[in-house]
C-alpha cells in the first residue's frame, strides 16, 4: 500500500477575468504514488501547483476531481484516519501568540488525542534545538525558531507520513542542518517524507525519487539518480570578461560573469570554448563539472527534454 497516493487529481479555480464559467487548472490530472519509507521530492517553479497538491493531501482544500489517500485512507471520506497518519509543516510562518512553545506543543498533541506525550515533546524540543526556548512565548521567537516550532508541531503526534512544504525557505544554515539531520533520522526509522523545496541541492542530497510539476502537470517522475543520468552529463562553467553574443548566450545559463553551458561530451565542450574564443570574449576561469539537479530542473522546465 502506498504511503501517499494521488489518483488523477485535478483542481480548477474560476478565472477572475474572462468569460463566465472559465476555469484555470492549478492541477491537471496528477497521478503519483509515494511508497512507505521513501524520501520523496516534489519540485517545480512558483505557481506549479505544489502547495495546492499538498493542501488537498492535508484536507485544507478539496480536489475538483480525483482521489487522494494516505496509507489507504481517503483524505475526504476518512479524513480523521488520514490526518492521524499525516504531519504537515505548512509553508507560511504562522503561530498562536497566546501560548509558549511547550503549551503550543501540548495543545497540538491534545488535538490528536495523544496522552502522556511529555517524553516525545522533550525529545522534539531537544532534537530541534528548542530546549531553552520551551517556556518562551511564540511572539518572542525569531523567524528561524518559529519555523522549528512548526516542524515540532507537525511531528508531535508521531505521524508515519511527514510532509514538509518548503521548510527551509529563508532560514539559516544551522537550522537547515539540524532539520535535515532530524528528518533523515526519522526517515531511516521508517517515516515517509514528502518534501517540496526551492533548494535543489537539498532535494538532490536527500530525495530518493523526485517528481517535477509544471503548470499543474507532472513533467518528470523518476529516481533522482536516473534524472541526473538522463540530463546533460557535464557543465562547462566559465568566468568571462565582456559580453557573449546573443546566439551563444541563448544556449547558456548566465549569472553575471558566470556562464554555464550544458554539454554531453568533450567535443561539445571544445566547440563551446571555440565559439567563445571566436567571439573575442576573454575567459578568466574554466571549470568542467558534473551536471546537478539544478541543470536537470532547468532542462525539464525549459521543455528542452
Amino acid at each position: 500500500m502506498p504511503a501517499i497516493s494521488f489518483q488523477s487529481v485535478s483542481r480548477y479555480y474560476p478565472l477572475a477575468r474572462g468569460p463566465k464559467g472559465a476555469t484555470f487548472a492549478a492541477l491537471d490530472d496528477v497521478s503519483l504514488d509515494i511508497e512507505e519509507g521513501e524520501f520523496f521530492g516534489l519540485l517545480g517553479p512558483n505557481g506549479a501547483g505544489k502547495t495546492t497538491l499538498i493542501s488537498i493531501l492535508a484536507g485544507l482544500t478539496r480536489a475538483s476531481k480525483g482521489r487522494v489517500s494516505v496509507l489507504g485512507h481517503d483524505v475526504q471520506a476518512e479524513y480523521a484516519l488520514a490526518r492521524r497518519q499525516l504531519g504537515v509543516v505548512p509553508q507560511e510562518l504562522v503561530f498562536d501568540p497566546f501560548f509558549n512553545v511547550r503549551e503550543a506543543l501540548r495543545i497540538q498533541s491534545g488535538y490528536f488525542g495523544v496522552k502522556n506525550n511529555e517524553g516525545w515533546i522533550d525529545e522534539l524540543l531537544e532534537s530541534l534545538g528548542l530546549a531553552d526556548k520551551a517556556n518562551a512565548n511564540m511572539r518572542q521567537l525569531s523567524g528561524g525558531m518559529k519555523r522549528r516550532v512548526l516542524v515540532a508541531q507537525a511531528l508531535v503526534h508521531k505521524p508515519p507520513v511527514i510532509v514538509l512544504d518548503e521548510p527551509t525557505a529563508g532560514v539559516d544554515v544551522e537550522l537547515r542542518q539540524t532539520l535535515w539531520q532530524f528528518i533523515s533520522r526519522l526517515n531511516k526509522q521508517g517515516h515517509t517524507v514528502l518534501l517540496t523545496t526551492h533548494y535543489l541541492e537539498e532535494a538532490e542530497a536527500l530525495c530518493g525519487r523526485i517528481a517535477m510539476l509544471k503548470s499543474g502537470k507532472v513533467v518528470a517522475l523518476e529516481r533522482t539518480s536516473e534524472l541526473l543520468k538522463a540530463a546533460s552529463s557535464h557543465v562547462l562553467r566559465l568566468k568571462i570578461d565582456g559580453e557573449l553574443p546573443a546566439d551563444l548566450a541563448a544556449q547558456a545559463r548566465v549569472t553575471g560573469r558566470i556562464v554555464q553551458f550544458p554539454a554531453h561530451d568533450a567535443r561539445e565542450i571544445e566547440s563551446y570554448l571555440g565559439a567563445v574564443r571566436e567571439a573575442g570574449v576573454i575567459v578568466d576561469d574554466v571549470e568542467i563539472t558534473k551536471a546537478d539537479l539544478e541543470d536537470v530542473f532547468l532542462e525539464v522546465m525549459g521543455g528542452r527534454k
Binding site: 485544507l60 478539496r62 479524513y79 504562522v94 491534545g110 488535538y111
Partner: protein, 251 residues
C-alpha cells in the same frame, strides 16, 4: 484529554490569559451602566408596580454582558486565527465539526457565565434583588450564551476581516440586545413597539432570565424557553453545517 476537550481548554485559556480585557472590562462597563441609569431613573420608574428600577436593571445588565461576551468569544477567536493563519493547526487535525462546535460554543458559554457572574457579584449588593427561581436563571444563562456563541461562530466563519465582524456586532447584536428590554419592561412601550419587541429573540432570553429573579415577567417563561430553544436549534444547526462543509476555511 480528548481532542475536543483540548480545543475547549485552549479556547478557555485564550480568553483567561487576557482576562483584564475579556472579563474585567465588560464587568466595569456594566457597573457604569448601572451607576448612570440607576442614578437617573431610580426615583422615577417602578417596574411591575413593586420592583425598583435598579433591581430591575441588574438582571438585564447581567444577561446583556453575558450574551455580548459569549458572541465576542467565538467570533473574535475564529477571526483572529483566520487572519493570523494559525487556524491551520486546527484544520490539520482529525477533529470533527462537532468537536469544533462543542469547543468553540462551550468556551463562549463559559466566558459568558464568568462575565455574567462578575457583573452580578459587583452589582447585586447595591440593590434589593431577590432570587425566586434559580434554575430558570441558569437555564436561560446557558442557553442564551450557547445561542450567542453559535452566532459568533457563524459570524467568525463568515467575516474575512475585523471590519465585517464589527459590523455584525454593531448593527445586529448591539441593537437587538439594547432593544430587548434590558433597560425597560416592554409593557411600558406603545402597543406597536411591544409587537416588534416580540419578534426579537433576545427579548425572550432576557425576559425569561429576569423571571428567575422576580417570579414575574412580560411573557411566560415557558414560552421564552420554547422560543430560545428553537432559535438555538436553528442557529446551532447552521453553525454545525458550516463547520461540516468547511465554509470559508477549507478551499
Amino acid at each position: 484529554m480528548t481532542g475536543w476537550q483540548t480545543l475547549l481548554y485552549k479556547e478557555v485559556l485564550r480568553f483567561w490569559k487576557v482576562s483584564f480585557q475579556t472579563i474585567a472590562a465588560p464587568v466595569l462597563t456594566a457597573v457604569l451602566y448601572l451607576l448612570i441609569f440607576g442614578h437617573v431613573l431610580e426615583d422615577h420608574v417602578k417596574v411591575y408596580d413593586r420592583i425598583s428600577y435598579t433591581a430591575f436593571l441588574v438582571p438585564g445588565l447581567v444577561m446583556m454582558s453575558l450574551l455580548q461576551n459569549a458572541f465576542a468569544n467565538s467570533s473574535s477567536s475564529l477571526i483572529q486565527s483566520k487572519i493570523m493563519g494559525n487556524l491551520v493547526f486546527l484544520l490539520l487535525t482529525p477533529l470533527s465539526h462537532w468537536a469544533w462546535y462543542l469547543a468553540y460554543v462551550g468556551s463562549s458559554v463559559l466566558r459568558g457565565l464568568v462575565v455574567g457572574t462578575g457583573v452580578f457579584l459587583v452589582t447585586f449588593a447595591s440593590t434589593d434583588l431577590t432570587i425566586q427561581a434559580p434554575l430558570w436563571i441558569l437555564v436561560f444563562a446557558v442557553m442564551g450564551a450557547a445561542l450567542l456563541g453559535s452566532l459568533g461562530l457563524i459570524a467568525g466563519l463568515w467575516a474575512d476581516k475585523f471590519d465585517q465582524l464589527a459590523a455584525f456586532q454593531n448593527f445586529i447584536i448591539m441593537p437587538m440586545t439594547f432593544l430587548s428590554g434590558v433597560f425597560y419592561s416592554i409593557h411600558s412601550l406603545p402597543a406597536f413597539w411591544q409587537g416588534v419587541s416580540h419578534l426579537n429573540p433576545f427579548f425572550y432570553m432576557i425576559d425569561g432570565f429576569r423571571y428567575g429573579f422576580f417570579g414575574v415577567s412580560d411573557v411566560s417563561p415557558w414560552l421564552s424557553l420554547g422560543i430560545v430553544g428553537v432559535a438555538l436549534l436553528c442557529v446551532g444547526s447552521l453553525a454545525v453545517h458550516l463547520l461540516r462543509v468547511g465554509y470559508k476555511i477549507r478551499g
